[in-house]
């Protein structure tokens, strides 16, 4: 497989990653090499093989729908880049 500049730009956008224009050829080369490695999977016949989502095939555990956590908003917001009046601040989204 060979990924080109457009592919890398699209992937970076989907991943919400700003990447340097100058690094794109390196990403294209490295990701192409990684997917060449990954494509060795195609040698395996996986017809009728059930995908393995959990090593022990365990199921999601359920719990009672009761409040167990205490309010720690102040503590959690103390490490936030920008807050005001108890909310996280981001650039304006709606005009």
């Amino acid at each position: 497989m060979s990924l080109n500049k457009t592919d890398i730009e699209k992937i970076a956008h989907l991943a919400r990653l700003a990447i340097n224009e100058a690094d794109i050829p390196d990403y294209a080369r490295d990701l192409s090499n990684i997917f060449n490695l990954v494509e060795q999977m195609s040698a395996a016949d996986t017809t009728d093989i059930t995908p393995m989502a959990h090593p022990l095939d365990a199921h999601q555990r359920l719990r009672q729908d009761v409040i167990t956590e205490t309010d720690q908003r102040k503590l959690f917001q103390s490490i936030a880049p920008k807050t005001e009046a108890g909310v996280y601040l981001v650039p304006q989204v709606i005009e």
């Binding site: 990924l3 592919d7 890398i8 992937i11 970076a12 989907l14 991943a15 919400r16 990653l17 700003a18 990447i19 990403y27 490295d30 990701l31 090499n33 990684i34 997917f35 490695l37 990954v38 494509e39 060795q40 999977m41 195609s42 040698a43 395996a44 996986t46 093989i49 059930t50 995908p51 393995m52 989502a53 959990h54 090593p55 022990l56 365990a58 999601q60 555990r61 719990r63 720690q72 503590l75 959690f76 103390s78 490490i79 936030a80 880049p81 920008k82 996280y88 981001v90 650039p91 304006q92 989204v93």
Partner: protein, 484 residues
């Protein structure tokens, strides 16, 4: 002091030979003397360590102290430690002061152990050489021109150089076992679900598992006793009793059936490493075990499968680092998209970006069946191989890594070459099985690790098998020159 086992340290603390404050200060002095060379610690918690030691000393005086009380340890900087920077070796979390403790940290604190600091690692545990850390590479105490392995390279270097008696690590594709192998340690990755993942910063959630990195199987067993157990805060934690892992250490190995997968001894394995492993296996024969060649025919699928599953899960897990609630935020974002993209672009290092992009692509519309679904099917094939093998043998042995520690910088330009350093360890994570690496000898002065893989929840048996070998050999007692 620093060449004592955990049980010797415990005895000395309990009989008053020295105090926890003295012991802790001794290790802090060693860190102070050697960390500049090794770069094993990102953060040293001098003040809180001495406070914890003081509390432990009071309990010891009142005869209220448990077995590990007052013994220092180091935590990989992937475990959240309340009030202490938890960076995961990333610029993204350079300013992140964890607001709570990981369950592992809570349990170890409750045992009265003393935290010396947070150890260096590959950024977000993505790497096999500890060269992707934002805080710089870690050096191998056996040869400071070489890598300590990764991703738990700081923990490995710290314990190998006796800057800590024991440390925690995590293993997603070999990150405990491979550095243990390269630094002459005993490292154990337990069965998936045995130790809580709560507060352990997630890389690939279906593979991540914590474990001890120690100087002996006995030390590892003692720490595993504290780390293991069910936690309702981890949705994949397994509800199953924890045995006392020290109780069965001396069990006989008579009749133990060891399988040697022929795929682990093929092309790519350094011949001197192979000879060292074969000698270790011979030793097991003299201890009463029988050896059988087995086959794990889908071994070749492990690395390709892993490089879909792990990046896919990481791309999802790391989406929480968005510059909004914690971590790095770029200056003057012009809009929300710019905030996300530049915060993440600036905060993550190259390898992390590569893996996020690999995972993003593998999960993008139209590719799910070809990559993630196919990988999960291959995972089943790999897991079935092991179950087939365990019909015939009790444990599987082989090399932990294909070579001894390689030179710093050797593989940094070729991600795929680096990925192949984990060729023998990745399968166990995909299958969720427990695996260990123990010191088995040296090649040109560099340590070689023997890998022992067991069936689900066979940790006690693995530790027993490792311990009996360590009773008959002294590889695990060798210390690197310059750190004696």
């Amino acid at each position: 002091m620093h060449n004592k086992s955990l049980s010797e340290l415990s005895a000395s603390l309990h009989n008053g030979e020295f105090s926890s404050v003295e012991l802790t200060q001794h290790y802090l002095d060693r860190i102070n003397a050697h960390n500049e060379t090794l770069n094993a610690f990102i953060t040293v918690t001098d003040d809180s360590a001495l406070k914890q030691a003081h509390v432990a000393d009071q309990l010891l005086q009142q005869n209220k102290a448990g077995k590990l009380a007052g013994i220092p340890l180091a935590h990989k900087d992937i475990f959240c430690t309340q009030g202490v920077r938890t960076s995961c070796a990333s610029k993204m979390l350079d300013n992140f002061i964890a607001p709570y403790n990981a369950t592992v940290v809570e349990k170890i604190n409750a045992a009265g152990m003393v935290t010396l600091g947070k150890t260096n690692m590959d950024e977000f545990a993505m790497g096999s050489s500890n060269e992707t850390s934002f805080y710089g590479e870690v050096k191998n105490p056996w040869d400071t021109n070489r890598v300590p392995g990764g991703s738990s390279g700081g923990s490995a270097a710290a314990v190998a150089a006796r800057l800590a008696p024991i440390a925690t690590g995590t293993d997603t594709g070999g990150s405990i076992r491979q550095p243990a192998s390269l630094c002459n340690l005993t490292g154990l990755k337990p069965t998936y679900g045995r130790i809580s993942r709560y507060g352990m910063i997630a890389f690939a959630s279906s593979l991540d598992q914590a474990g001890p990195m120690a100087n002996s199987a006995e030390d590892a067993a003692m720490l595993l006793n504290e780390m293991a157990g069910f936690d309702d805060r981890d949705s994949t934690s397994v509800e199953r009793d924890v045995p006392d892992y020290t109780e069965t250490l001396n069990d006989s190995l008579d009749g133990l059936k060891i399988g040697l997968p022929k795929e682990y001894f093929g092309e790519g394995l350094d011949p001197d490493v192979a000879a060292t492993i074969e000698a270790a296996v011979k030793m097991y024969e003299s201890l009463g075990a029988t050896i059988k060649e087995i086959s794990l025919p889908n071994t070749g699928l492990a690395v390709p499968t892993y490089y879909v599953v792990a990046p896919a899960e990481c791309s999802s897990n790391l989406s929480r680092m968005d510059g909004v609630r914690f971590g790095h935020r770029c200056d003057d974002p012009k809009d929300l998209l710019d905030l996300y993209q530049r915060s993440r672009g600036e905060g993550f290092g190259e390898e992390v970006k590569r893996r996020i992009m690999t995972g993003t692509y593998a999960l993008s519309a139209g590719y799910y069946d070809a990559y993630y679904l196919k990988a999960q099917q291959c995972r089943r094939l790999i897991s079935d191989d092991f179950q087939q093998a365990f019909n015939d043998v009790d444990v599987i042995m082989g090399p932990t890594a294909p070579t001894t520690a390689f030179n710093l910088g050797d593989k940094t330009d070729d991600p795929v070459a680096m990925y192949l350093a984990d060729i023998y360890t990745i399968s166990t994570n995909l299958a969720g099985l427990p695996g260990m690496s123990i010191p088995a000898g040296f090649v040109d002065g560099l340590p070689v690790g023997l890998q022992i893989i067991g069936n689900y929840f066979d940790e006690a048996r693995l530790l027993n098998i490792a311990h009996r070998y360590q009773q008959a050999t002294d590889w695990h007692q060798q210390t690197p020159a310059g750190f004696k």
